[in-house]
Amino acid sequence: MATTLYDKIWQAHIVEAKKTAETGEEGLMYIDRHLIHEVTSPQAFAGLDDKNRKVRCPKRTFATMDHSISTRSLALDACGPTNKLQLQTLAENCEKHGIELFPVGHQKQGIVHVMGPELGLIQPGMTVVCGDSHTATHGAFGALAFGIGTSQVEHVFATQTLKQSKAKSMKVQVNGSLPIGITAKDIILAIIGKIGHAGATGHVIEYCGEAISGLSMEERMTVCNMSIEAGAKAGLIAPDQITFDYLQGREYAPKGENWQQAIAYWKTLVSDADASFDTVVELNAADITPQVTWGTNPGQVIGVNQAVPSPSDFADPIDKDSANKALSYMDLTPGQKLSDLSVNNVFIGSCTNGRIEDMRAAAAIAKQGKVAQGVTAIVVPGSVSVKAQAEAEHLDKIFIEAGFEWRLPGCSMCLGMNDDILTQGDRCASTSNRNFEGRQGRGARTHLVSPAMAAAAALAGHFADVRDYQ
């Protein structure tokens, strides 16, 4: 029987299978890689300790500090005593259980979904979990990667497995090549806009088509990262030569004879040509324009030159009601042009867009002008390694010269668990992944965009079409 990439990874990881008439395939899934951070692990470690249980495979587990840390100081207490306690708790737990930790200041530290791939910890065909919904990022390598809750973190610690039910499959095919000025962020926002904020709930997405296979690994990670914003359990892209070239020579990637064996296996990780999917969605790359979210969920998105929609544009009563609430929270009026909308904050960074290519794309726009008066713009590299590479290319100087702040790596203003938070009424062009109410600060308004679009908004002081800059 023809099988999908998801089927193949599933099959290779089921320790014990069960099949029931009502719910389909269930099984105990082996987990190859477990990434942890300070926010969703302390209660899991405490649960282990309560029952005198051990971490079964510390060597499959890697930890970093990212969510609660300052982007201005390496001091653990820079964001107050509770953040410090959480960070110290992670350090103590990792020490106790023999888990490798990349703490603040370490050369391998970074946002968990930036750090893992750049070290070669994520490889095709793996199962990867983390107590963080953006774990879907790692699907860019053809790994089955998904976010889990803290009880499941504890389950993986103790057993290196998870009980799983097989999800449905969805193929998202993006045909043709991308127009100039259109990025991976625009692709994924356009997909979410098309299928909706819950359009892929219960599914694992496989992204394919010419526009996807032409993307670099950094760009593929941006696409897979936001799978959860369409409700998907995970997003996958079949590994190919671009994947292998990215991995070769990375610290934790296989070497020598192991590399040869790995490549031979990885090349089998594709969906069969005649494999069937539960749902199929197609987009034409040529139709995608620079995307900007106008509402309070990532599915509420339009092209930069489209007018803000009216609730009456939506047939579904729930969409209509959501639009009404979103327009009110975002302080927008139907028909408004985005280019008339002033921003006073710009955030470039996050696990969605904090990689070196994102820094380069933003810098290419930043060097064309100065940050507009009244705009605070921060650039937060996704890891120490990204920061070092950007500085080697003098991108930091371009940003600083243009009036951007150049910060230390971390999750930062994507969710504001540190002091990078906005206040009531602020309007932010953000390269992050969620535009929920209050996400970046109580009463603050978030518009999701690509790094180049964020940099263009910083210079213009309002949303601007990045294609006018190239």
Binding site: V15, E16, E22, T23, L28, Y30, D32, V39, P42, Q43, A46, R53, R56, K59, R60, H67, S68, T82, L85, Q86, G131, D132, S133, F146, I148, G149, T150, S151, Q152, E154, H155, A158, T159, K163, S165, A167, H197, A198, T201, G202, I228, G231, P254, N258, Q261, Y265, N297, I318, D321, S322, K325, L415, G416, M417, R434, F436, E437, G438, R439, R442
Partner: protein, 202 residues
């Protein structure tokens, strides 16, 4: 987890909104704690309080309405619990006093987190939810009975059936220790590890 849940009867809180994300259920500033308890007072913080120090309740928000105090069932709409995987969301709902959440649909990670915290997620159709909202908005004291064994929701003379996966149902009914169960399969896990090609071994 040792105690199971089966039949629950209580009054309901009508949160008539779709796409309630976990940032709304429990905002990030409360995620710096290292324990599982004490989140109930921060539940729906941004909507529930007019100030960030939680001194001024928002009188328009349903959690603050006198007639719904003591509710143990939350009624809500599509895609409840979307967004972040934070298990602090079910912890805060549970700590506030909710035992059952009835919605049109749930986000996947949140649904699993509820099961792992003995919080029963019940999915009904949009029309059935309309009926429940109408009843509870008219009579805040209406007693809803949720029977997990029978997979039914009953109120007044209405009775709705609901679906739940067998493994989730068993875990909720028996309150099983999921890790303890899996540890009984230790030999199989070890055999799986031993069968991995050398380059995939830890």
């Amino acid at each position: 987890m040792t105690t199971g849940i089966n039949i629950h009867t209580g009054s309901a809180m009508p949160l008539n909104q779709a796409n309630v994300d976990t940032d709304q259920i429990i905002p990030k500033q409360f995620l710096t704690a290292v324990t599982r308890s004490g989140y109930g007072k921060h539940l729906f913080h941004d909507w529930r309080y007019l100030d960030q120090h939680e001194q001024v309740p928002n009188p328009d928000f349903v959690l603050n309405k006198a007639q719904y105090q003591g509710a143990s069932i939350l009624l809500t709409r599509e895609n409840f619990g979307c967004g972040s995987s934070r298990e602090h969301a079910p912890w805060s709902l549970d700590d506030y006093g909710f035992k059952v959440i009835i919605a049109t649909s749930f986000a996947d990670i949140f649904y699993g987190n509820c099961i792992n915290n003995q919080l029963l997620p019940v999915q009904l159709t949009s029309e059935q939810m309309d009926q429940l909202f109408a009843i509870v908005e008219q009579d805040a004291d209406a007693q809803i009975t949720v029977n997990l064994q029978d997979q039914t929701v009953k109120v007044n003379d209405l009775s709705f059936g609901f679906d739940i996966a067998e493994q989730h149902k068993t875990n909720l009914l028996k309150g099983l220790d999921a890790i303890g169960q899996t540890l009984e399969l230790d030999d199989k896990i070890t055999a799986f590890e031993n069968n991995l090609p050398q380059w995939q071994k830890a």
